[in-house]
């Protein structure tokens, strides 16, 4: 299988991951689209250096999260949150209104976390084990556990306040 073919297959299999990362790290539709493209571009650029030393998903999450961080100062300083509605709705053709509302609440909670916490909660919600989260983030497994339980507490108190 050629390089382009393998790359497009991997991206198509994981387009949901890129969508989720680009959504939680941006506040407007345009920023989200820009970040999405930038992540695909950075994945392509680093595709040659990916030598199956780690799982594809580990490499993909690492590059995508790193790209999101490195683009943070370039997004609009005062973008409107209304873009978020459109971002979510756009990708969710089959959702009902009630689900959309719940999803919006989930994104609102995640958007209130800091840049590190956003990455950790995304990995946890995507079903990653602490070992893989540690490999992606560079934090020790114990540290991942401690931070995740703090994030859960933080989210819980915010959810209860609502």
């Amino acid at each position: 299988m050629g390089k382009e073919e393998s790359f497009t297959r991997i991206i198509r299999e994981n387009e949901g991951v890129i969508f989720k990362i680009s959504t939680i790290y941006t506040q407007s539709e345009q920023d989200q689209k820009d970040l999405y493209q930038e992540i695909v571009y950075q994945l392509w650029k680093s595709f040659d250096s990916f030598r199956n030393e780690s799982k594809i998903s580990t490499w993909m999450y690492r590059v995508a999260l790193n790209t999101a961080i490195s683009q943070l100062n370039k997004s609009k300083k005062h973008s409107s949150n209304t873009g978020l509605d459109r971002v979510i709705l756009k990708q969710t053709d089959n959702y009902d209104a009630e689900f959309e509302n719940r999803l919006k609440i989930v994104y609102e909670h995640i958007h209130q976390l800091n840049i590190l916490e956003k990455g950790l909660i995304l990995l946890l919600l995507d079903g990653k084990k602490y070992g893989e989260i540690s490999e992606i983030t560079g934090l020790s497994i114990t540290n991942v556990g401690t931070r995740i339980s703090r994030i859960k507490q933080k989210l819980k108190s915010r959810i209860l306040k609502k």
């Binding site: 387009e15 999260l65 790193n66 490195s70 943070l72 370039k74 989930v106 590190l116 560079g138 959810i159």
Partner: protein, 198 residues
Amino acid sequence: MEIEELQSVWSEMSDQLEKQKKLTNELIMEMTQNRYTTKFDKLTFYETLGAVICFVMAIYLLVNITKLDTWYLLSCGIFTIAFLIILPVITLGLLGKIKRINIAKNSFKETIVSFTKTRNQLLLMQRVGIYLSFILVFTCLPVFSKIMKNKDLFLQTSTLIIYLPVMGIFMFFFSRWGYRCYRNITNSAENILKELET
């Protein structure tokens, strides 16, 4: 909404995303080969353009520096030239440092630390720039006035009486706004750095 519900909504969304394959091979390759002109690129363009304008002005002043025939005009000229060269060079250097972060090799933690440190330096430079521009306001007008119209503004007190208070008020509000932005951004950045480095 409970945490468990949050998790279930997330996995339901992930399942839906799995089913919705929107990308085509052509679109993916287009994203990798023909980089779209994104806002990110535009920002770098404006920053570079700003630096080029500063350099052109600095060169113009350097070429005409002999026209500044008094010690005070010459001092103003040297300060203006230094401001127009040093600040853009440092800012572009720091922006380049952010661009050079190794996205493929770094861990998420390393990227956050490098990015946050460099961004703090960038914000510090912007803050220094705001305060130095107070002095620039005072120095650039007499310099340009002398070079372009051969008028020594320091000898025309009536112009200075109007010019200085107006610019002073403008700069006061501008720097106060700049400082607030700086303080808010760096406070949150400092917290993350502290968390990661302990």
